[in-house]
Symmetry: C2
Subunit: 145 residues, 2 copies
Amino acid sequence: MKENSTDLRKILRRYGLKSTPQRIAVYTAMKELGHASADMVYQLASAGLTTLTVATVYNVLESFVQVGLLQRRMSSNNKMYMDVNTYNHCHLYCEETNTYKDYDDPELMLLIHDHFRNKRIRGFDLDRIDVQLVGRKRIAGSRAK
Amino acid sequence: MKENSTDLRKILRRYGLKSTPQRIAVYTAMKELGHASADMVYQLASAGLTTLTVATVYNVLESFVQVGLLQRRMSSNNKMYMDVNTYNHCHLYCEETNTYKDYDDPELMLLIHDHFRNKRIRGFDLDRIDVQLVGRKRIAGSRAK
DNA sequence: CTTCATGCAAAACATTTGCAAAAAG
DNA sequence: CTTTTTGCAAATGTTTTGCATGAAG
């Protein structure tokens, strides 16, 4: 699960991207963060690589999305958020903190994909079905007895 | 389905909001648009009410969300989008145009809510389950034969 | 070498704020 | 009258752009 920068170079190559320190730093930050805004990536990545600008972070994130190395997520926060996991999975989305948490539920996925197996949606090319459990992180200790 | 401004005044009152020309114009625009960004609402609403500013549109939209007259939607567009329909329903979301379309599928809703009926999510207060069919509007006429 | 990626600083957007003036009830 | 709501213009925060420089292959 833990890639060193040699591994990362291979990954980038496999996705048809030149390997640069900036790209490695951004991807490493995303691996650590899981889900993150451009700014969060910039904060973390630029700690380990002083020669990194926000503009580059945006560039890199965009190129990663293009090749499918990252996925852009929807938010109700007017900000861009990325997901390092590109396989098909659900999310818990906290509207208070605008944070995401992977929520793996294969049974649900199966249910939904069965439901759509023979459905055709007129005039629409379906890419994926995005299920978000929207709510609020519970404050630690306030759990009902 | 078509409210005149007397009806709208009643609706606003019922939601505990003072009735103003601006609020009526914004809600009327939302009724017409269904799903819209602040800017879209401003464009349409200010056509019929010259004394309306963007700041007010934001104010009004926010107050409508507060009382539950509108719902904020997630987008991958770094912009705020509103939905005039607040009942529980799915959406088609076009990533190219950032447009929404209601997708009513009671069978799917039932399936999903049954699935979650007895599930508890640790540390999370669930508000709603948001299902988006993400893809692209098909270009007219490009339908496979 | 040649191409592509990065840094930089400015621009473009979208949204929010603070406060005085105006309107609602 | 009193309380909200609105308009205005400025400020904020995020993302994008253009172009010269620098690095990757």
